[in-house]
Symmetry: C2
Amino acid sequence: MNATLPDTDSPSRARILAGARREFADRGFEGARLSDIAGQAGLSHPTLLYHFTSKAELYGAVIASAVVDWTRETEAAVSGALHGFDQVASIIDAGFAFFASHPDFARILRREALDGGHRLDDAIAGALRPFLERAVAFLEREMEAGRLRRHDPLELMAICYGAVFTYFSDAGFRARLLGEDPLSEVALSRHRHALTELLGAALRPA
Amino acid sequence: MNATLPDTDSPSRARILAGARREFADRGFEGARLSDIAGQAGLSHPTLLYHFTSKAELYGAVIASAVVDWTRETEAAVSGALHGFDQVASIIDAGFAFFASHPDFARILRREALDGGHRLDDAIAGALRPFLERAVAFLEREMEAGRLRRHDPLELMAICYGAVFTYFSDAGFRARLLGEDPLSEVALSRHRHALTELLGAALRPA
DNA sequence: ATACCTCTACTGACTTGTCAGTAGAGGTGC
DNA sequence: GCACCTCTACTGACAAGTCAGTAGAGGTAT
């Protein structure tokens, strides 16, 4: 897409990306305003369009940078040599850690999931589907070997995805409902602990 | 909100509401176009604004009608005289049934949750918080009585909320990822069954 | 003849993207 | 040590289009 490519990571570009992540998370693709994003970076909106040729390209850059982080940060957890429930807990931990350090991205991703995910085709093919397939294969193997109790592996992943993902994407809602900050360290580890306990009770062999 | 109320349910009004539900679910509040909604009802957009004085009022009416349905349809499940895990399964079933019959509302609700839920304050105070409090109180009582294994009741609700809610709000994403319709009867009961089994394995006393 | 419902035509606000031009840093020849 | 050029980063002004909401007139049933 970028034919003549001098900069790639100027300070302005980085500030624009940071503001864009916030605005796209807060207001969605349609709701975000280029002039607001530019303003947060201390620039006028034409300058933003000097660095990114269109709103869509800027959005794509935000997604891409998060997908890079996701792949890097989950790699360790997935390729670990653990077995049975320890490996499950490790993946849950990795998911929590990733979203806790990328809370805005959780909301961007949810908006995409709501829209059917058509803008995520590359990310799905490149990162999400492989991740899911490895996880399901792992679960099947471990259940077969008797190191995990039998459950539907794919649906188990869907349940974990829903629980972890929702905690972060709906953090504002939870805050309003319960009057506490879900991204605080205590709230976060309370939820992670509860999920891990629940899964452990259901998955650990008797 | 509706002080001087002549019509309340003309045929046009009902058709507008149905179209609005679809459009708000598909594109969000900002993305939805009044002229598209009106067009689906066979009307021009100023005619829509004759029935609903603003886009925001129309949106509020969509939310309100769904909250009415929610309260009615979950009432039976929550006030049932069941005990232990049977009651838990009954609430899960009710949640599935509600969202399966209101798939568009699931996505509208998720968009609201993403935005922090500030437009849902009435619904939270009137329906959601009471529902949650009754559920948590029930879980505590049953755990105390030994009819359910001990888990964190609030987090347990959050996990169920996340799993059920995500299944419906992200149905389009799941369809893209797996290539099957998540709202089909088989897919739906597969997921509900998996969730019920998982919860049962974790919650039923040994 | 009046209440209700609908339309066409229009406005004002706003948004993305374009364009011409400015400021300043840095290299080069002399 | 200076005239000249080029490049990046940036801006204000504007073009083009979209959208919610308004005004006012017409049709229809009672």
